[in-house]
């Protein structure tokens, strides 16, 4: 049981530091091994680019809708693809077992992997945001909150990728399942169509997906700090914690046979 006394006396400092350094070590390795896989380029970059072009070409999309939607979609596909592919490959090649036999908990492994996935999503989203803002000459009232939204969203999406791949039997199943989750999310999550204009049933589902909160957070950040922005960021952080915890449980169930 963690108590305040432990935290104040620094007794927790060592395990926490250990957790963070081992997580960073796994993230560095994942960046080396998986960032340049062709599957990442396909599922993380090409698919969102085609989807966006297919639905935006020939339509007048105001910058206030374009930038948050595009950046959120890039974050969703980028961050979730890296770790979905990494977990599926590690299970297949049994390198996951190498991590399991090391002195690092499943939570530590999942944290390290979500660091790698989110870093990929953050860099990709920031580049996209920079290009989109410059091209559309959009106003950015709160850049720090905008970046915070990208960071929290990318962490949540990375954990989503881990969770789906943890539950999937193999890589094709992981990719198909993740795509089947992501595509509906972008249609109801405010990327192309504002959530407020959706039918009540769809709107309810929209509020149950993390993408909705990221799109909204980025939109609010472009307009200026607000209570809604704080709520969006808190919900994204909550999604990250929930998805991370679920990923740990599912990975333990699937791999500690």
């Amino acid at each position: 049981m963690v108590n305040v006394g432990d935290i104040l006396s620094g007794r927790l400092a060592r395990p926490v530091l250990d957790f963070l350094t081992k997580g960073a070590c796994i993230a560095k390795k994942d960046a080396k091994v998986y960032y340049f896989k062709p599957q990442i380029f396909g599922f993380g970059i090409l698919i969102p680019a085609f989807v966006y072009l297919a639905f935006s070409l020939g339509r007048e999309i105001p910058p206030g809708l374009l930038v948050p939607g595009l950046v959120s979609m890039v974050s969703l596909f980028g961050a979730s693809s890296v770790e979905a592919i990494s977990i599926a490959m590690e299970k297949q090649t049994e390198t996951y077992e190498l991590l399991q036999t090391a002195p690092v908990s499943t939570a530590g492994i999942v944290f390290g992997k979500s660091l790698a996935g989110s870093a990929f999503g953050i860099v990709l989203s920031l580049c996209t945001a920079l290009g989109a803002v410059l091209l559309s000459q959009s106003q950015m009232a709160s850049p720090i909150m905008f970046v915070t939204g990208i960071v929290l969203g990318s962490f949540a999406f990375s954990s989503l990728g881990i969770l789906v791949a943890a539950a999937a039997r193999d890589m094709p199943t992981a990719n198909i399942s993740l795509t089947a989750l992501r595509l509906p999310m972008i249609f109801i999550g405010g990327v192309f169509i504002p959530v407020g204009t959706l039918a009540p049933g769809l709107r309810l589902i929209a509020y149950l997906t993390p993408l909705t909160y990221m799109v909204d957070a980025l939109r609010e950040a472009m307009a200026g700090p607000s209570v809604a922005l704080a709520v969006d960021l808190a919900v994204l952080a909550g999604w990250f914690v929930i998805l991370e915890a679920l990923a740990v449980v599912v990975l333990n169930r699937r791999t500690q046979l």
Binding site: I26, K32, Q100
Partner: protein
Amino acid sequence: MENAIEARALTKHYGDVIAVDGVRLNVPKGEFFGLLGPNGAGKTTTIRILTGLTKPTSGTAKIHGLDCVRDSLAVKQRIGVVSEVSNLYNEMSAWDNLMFIGELYGVDKPTRIDRANRLLEAFQLFERRKERLGHYSKGMKRRVRIAAALLHRPEVLFLDEPTSGLDVQSSRLIRSLVREFNREGVTVFLTTHYIEEADQLCDQVAIIRDGKIVAEGSPEKLKSSLEREPIIEIVFDRDAPDLERQLLGEPSVKEIRKEAHRYQIRTTDSSTAITDVARFASSSGLQILSINTKQPSLEDVFLKHTGLDAVQVERMELLRTRRAGGQRG
């Protein structure tokens, strides 16, 4: 002597299947211990429980007094695990793999560089350390895998079929280096289907069948337990199809087996059996090219307890490896 590995009533169920059934093990510190058994006997499940990869259904397992379930992280820090598959990252070089493993086990940078250099030299891989592992042969990958398991200086090293499917040179190098690390004090827990390998390397062995330990002790002790049943090995100048029919009725002869061009006779009294064989040869017009009494081997012990000989075990392993497909390397 204090035990490095202890298991008490260790049991693992997969649904209705009992993979490990009340296993009890005591492996003293510094010992070279071998767990032998045919495919599906429970070797890998036992090793998976001891290394914290699987939770037992019941019973306890301890490494240096630490519980494998409750203190799993502390246990993992003290052990090195080499699974049957060389599960390192093919996309990274041998060097980068070792650096990653060292960092994961909390070995500081100067120490892991120093140890990686020494281990790669010892495993004859130093010159090719910067090459991607994907370009390595199976034997080289296995050597890197063992080097990686030793980088954090484990007190107990688990080796699951370390030389399975490797070339003679790699197998010999691995055996000699593992023996050397054992002499330096590392406790080694080996599972192998190469019975001769276990005979050469192990101080103690246990034979597992249907999840239960059916025999244990030093290879010499186990072999001597069969000494009441000596074996005579005979080579005739040609095939002797009537041997079994004519000699099996003799009171001194218990069993006759043919292996390649050799006949093996398990007997209760070797001198009477030799006389019987000589009489049979003379009456059948056969010439005896060689005759000798054979000391029981560990394979004989294995055969007695599992009903399988080395060739059958090898065939089973081969089928299993083929079924596992291209993932192995």
